[in-house]
Symmetry: C2
Subunit: 249 residues, 2 copies
Amino acid sequence: MIKVVVLGSGNVATHLCTTLEKHTRILLLQNYNRKGENIANCGVTITNRPTEIVDADLYIFAISDDALPTVNTEFNHLKGLIVHTSGSTPLEVFSSFERKGIFYPVQSFKKNIPVSFSEVPIAIEASHESDQQLLVRFAQSISKAVYVLNSEQRNILHVAAIFANNFSNFMYTQAEEICQTNAIDFNILKPLISETITKISTNSPKEIQTGPAIRNDKKTIERHITTLTDQKKIKLYQLLTAAIQHYYE
Amino acid sequence: MIKVVVLGSGNVATHLCTTLEKHTRILLLQNYNRKGENIANCGVTITNRPTEIVDADLYIFAISDDALPTVNTEFNHLKGLIVHTSGSTPLEVFSSFERKGIFYPVQSFKKNIPVSFSEVPIAIEASHESDQQLLVRFAQSISKAVYVLNSEQRNILHVAAIFANNFSNFMYTQAEEICQTNAIDFNILKPLISETITKISTNSPKEIQTGPAIRNDKKTIERHITTLTDQKKIKLYQLLTAAIQHYYE
């Protein structure tokens, strides 16, 4: 039975407490948060005093990236494995701890929307092999998708996520704006967008690329450029069309 | 009761026949296709002879864009409203017909995957007001999402779809490739991608943009550029970061 203390009061801390409290093979001993609030509205013991934190195998700091360095001074009396949940902070942030690790759930959480942790990918890292095993065992007990990644790989995953989320979302913004300036309901495109996502669940996105760029359909590309009126969108259309053509050359 | 003939043997023709044959307020009289095949494996009468096509209110040519001009010579004996299902072909392609229109289902179809037409957005256009009414009535009897768009708007919708599908899919390709070259499983990112799609079903993509570009987080942007090794991806990262920053300025 792995004994766990969750520290923090944000979305990740809340969902972790909710999930761990019901778990039969994990013992959630305590939640620490500054205000001493019962964040998950559950039966877990709450404290807001660092000195009252009980002995555990695993301490999960689900706090903001900026606050992580303060753990070295405020919580340096803790024994056991100390981990954080940040995707972009290296292991070394815990400079005053010898046993340290990362438990990074690759999903965005909202407080009031229930999360099925079993579907959330978890990226794991630890400074010691035995702690990595402990973390993997812990993570696998709540998620079906556990990956061991070192800090460099996690950084690369973060770059990939910029393309997969931030940049693709910016494309949706462009599409919505093109619709809006022409009194077309953006909802018309949503089933098509969902379809792309359904497709990449079983196909490589590389294999399902369609459109005038990959077909080198010059007539349609020319018509589209004439259709667009915003110079920045024209530039973006041309750059991305060229990038696609170059990629599939 | 609207009397309909569907012409063609592709994915759209097949799904239309399957849907219309079961319909209680639409009378599917016939399917024409060159090979005389029973494409939808249903009870509809099939013909492969243009002269045997029966009288109907509506003829739906669900054939390839390239083949549409041939309708003017091969099928110019047909009375009733003649429509095509193409998103990028103007109404004027049917030069020898007086009553013409467009019935464009904004979704990609695959032959063996069932489609719930009630969820498929339909873009409608017709050269006559009365025919537009007929088409809207017909479309609304099979779909909850019917939009009247003229050829210019449909062209604009097509441009918007390039951003929403082709360009966003290319971003997924970049993300997958970044993962692959670094031995990271691309599946880790799929729940995050799905989450973005869930979010834009109720939020404007403009409002949910996140990431280092919009935060102007120079340190992370610099780290990401150093992480990437492929010059084309670096260029793309820089251009899109600049575009996002410019957009939200």
